[in-house]
Symmetry: C2
Subunit: 331 residues, 2 copies
């Protein structure tokens, strides 16, 4: 186990920290709410909005295997083909970088990624579960050699035992990865537990000069709170989405995060116009996400939100019965 | 300035702390959303629910002056007459205590409070602004002498300069008050700033053996996060409301708080039934509260929510224009 330094806040609530990067994953995590069926206009406006708001990275979606997933079942942002991204951004003349996510075991990374110099993608975020760490590292090193920035997003760590997690962190820190993400997949972390996980991640990342990121979920209305707690203790890469759009209870809302950060490069003006014009209609069309009791239950119980998502899809409102089902099903 | 001890968490996320008390203020803060027009059935069921859930205090409303406020303009819980509370609770044979709130300058406390032994009310929470501290102390000492437990809820402290706040805390700590509340009236605190305010309050309260409480608002989706941060650093009295019902963006949701606390006396079963049967219909009838962009703005700007409440009442959805109005109106 790496030596733990005493956990201290990095700077204060007024600090501008140059290490901080905001990543918009509205299309990627929000795409899980509507099968990635966004109009090109939506994506183009979001791209322009993010640039105006000072967002550092915009994630366009997944790079999923077309052998495992039928293209006709999803919008194109499940696959993020080079030509589709370019149809929105051209050569991306902006300062904002472009990322995609690729799940270990659900992508064909040796086929689907061009060498970086031929691609408009800047960063690939490799998502994996703890048992897939060796596969993730292979993928990360391969993508690094192609010229990409890489992240390792280890999912569902709230259910992983600490010994395994620390081994995984040690291994990932020996790879070519640039950023390691603390991912609260189930929305089960509290600010206090977030700070303790941050401490563990920092103890490995700092000595190998890796950056850290945080990706929250809003099951207990804590996605923003946990994000700024993680930030205050030294995590640099912060995921957020417009109005928190994301699977189930959704994510940290971009408007909360940009309003909090003190770096004058960030502002929410254009984001508010985007929300009025594109996000509110999306909700009115029936696309569902956001905090509600069913997600609170799975968050509190540290469980995958799938049962809560089904509860929502079925338009149930018998919260009490659902909670009982959850408890019966826990062990 | 009192000596500050180094800020440390009291116990861990698993601790059962006997000093912790949960106070339901659904009728009192929620009453601001519907002019206190709750049915007797609603109040009676909430009372039974709170008892079943292990809630420690239930606040029935305000003890407002009938000379300043016309009784016909409000539901009866704006005034909390002894006979109205007794019509719900009888002699309150439960372990749960009953509180009311009284605003300095908006109540006739020398007329309207019976001696404690003739009243079913256990605790009076005296709400004041910083300039009313001397008046609050007079009132607290008077009510203490009548036999009541007392709280001092100093409102809007996020806009008070620290020198005044520390003087106020010192004065209040010399009174007969039992509990001093840190009140985030504008929902402008973050977990980090909550912990720093907690540190200041503790430095005065601990040496005079006063208890502390926290009352949050959800403007930035942080009411629950701030409540459990305050708790973790030693605040004992925690305000919450069913589904966060309360003025504007609302409060810390009781279901989040009870699900978090580890004391087995607390549970959310009955609360879920109450929510299904009474809270969801309330929302369906058009009673409005809860996080939305307009409240985020006033929270971020550390402002009274009245403009955001008007925005909501007028069914506006031009968030961008409203934000510009807010900024023009700041100084």
């Amino acid at each position: 186990m790496a030596e733990k330094k005493q956990l201290k806040r990095k700077g204060s609530i007024m600090s501008v920290r140059d290490d901080v990067k905001v990543l918009d994953c509205t299309i990627r995590d929000g795409g899980l709410c509507n099968n990635f069926n966004f109009s090109d206009e939506f994506i183009r406006e979001l791209y322009e909005t993010n640039i105006k708001c000072g967002v550092d990275y915009m994630e366009f979606g997944y790079k999923a295997s077309t052998r495992l997933f039928k293209e006709s079942d999803f919008g194109k942002w499940k696959f993020c083909k080079e030509e589709d991204i370019r149809s929105i951004v051209g050569d991306n003349p902006s300062d904002m970088k472009i990322s995609v996510m690729a799940d270990v075991g659900r992508c064909d990374y040796k086929i689907d990624f061009l060498p970086k110099k031929e691609s408009v993608i800047d960063m690939v975020r490799v998502a994996c579960y703890i048992h897939q760490i060796p596969a993730a590292i292979q993928m990360i090193n391969y993508l690094h050699d192609l010229g990409y920035e890489t992240c390792c997003n280890i999912m569902a760590v709230s259910t992983v035992n600490l010994l395994e997690l620390e081994e995984a962190l040690q291994m990932v820190c020996q790879s070519h990865v640039d950023v390691i993400y603390l991912v609260d997949s189930y929305g089960s972390l509290y600010p206090e537990t977030t700070s303790r996980f941050t401490e563990i991640y920092l103890s490995y990342a700092e000595e190998t000069h890796k950056m850290l990121g945080f990706h929250g979920h809003n099951n207990q209305n804590l996605a923003f709170a946990n994000t700024i707690e993680a930030l205050s203790y030294g995590i640099s890469y912060l995921d957020a989405t417009c109005q928190g759009m994301g699977r189930g209870a959704g994510n940290c809302a971009m408007e909360l995060l940009l309003g909090f950060l003190k770096n004058p490069k960030y502002n929410i003006y254009s984001l508010l116009q985007f929300i009025e014009k594109y996000m509110i209609p999306l909700k009115e069309q029936g696309v569902k996400w956001g905090y509600d009791l069913q997600y609170l239950f799975t968050g509190q119980l540290n469980r995958h939100p799938r049962a809560a998502i089904a509860f929502t899809r079925d338009n149930r409102d018998d919260y009490f019965e659902f909670y009982k089902e959850m408890l019966e099903d826990t062990y």
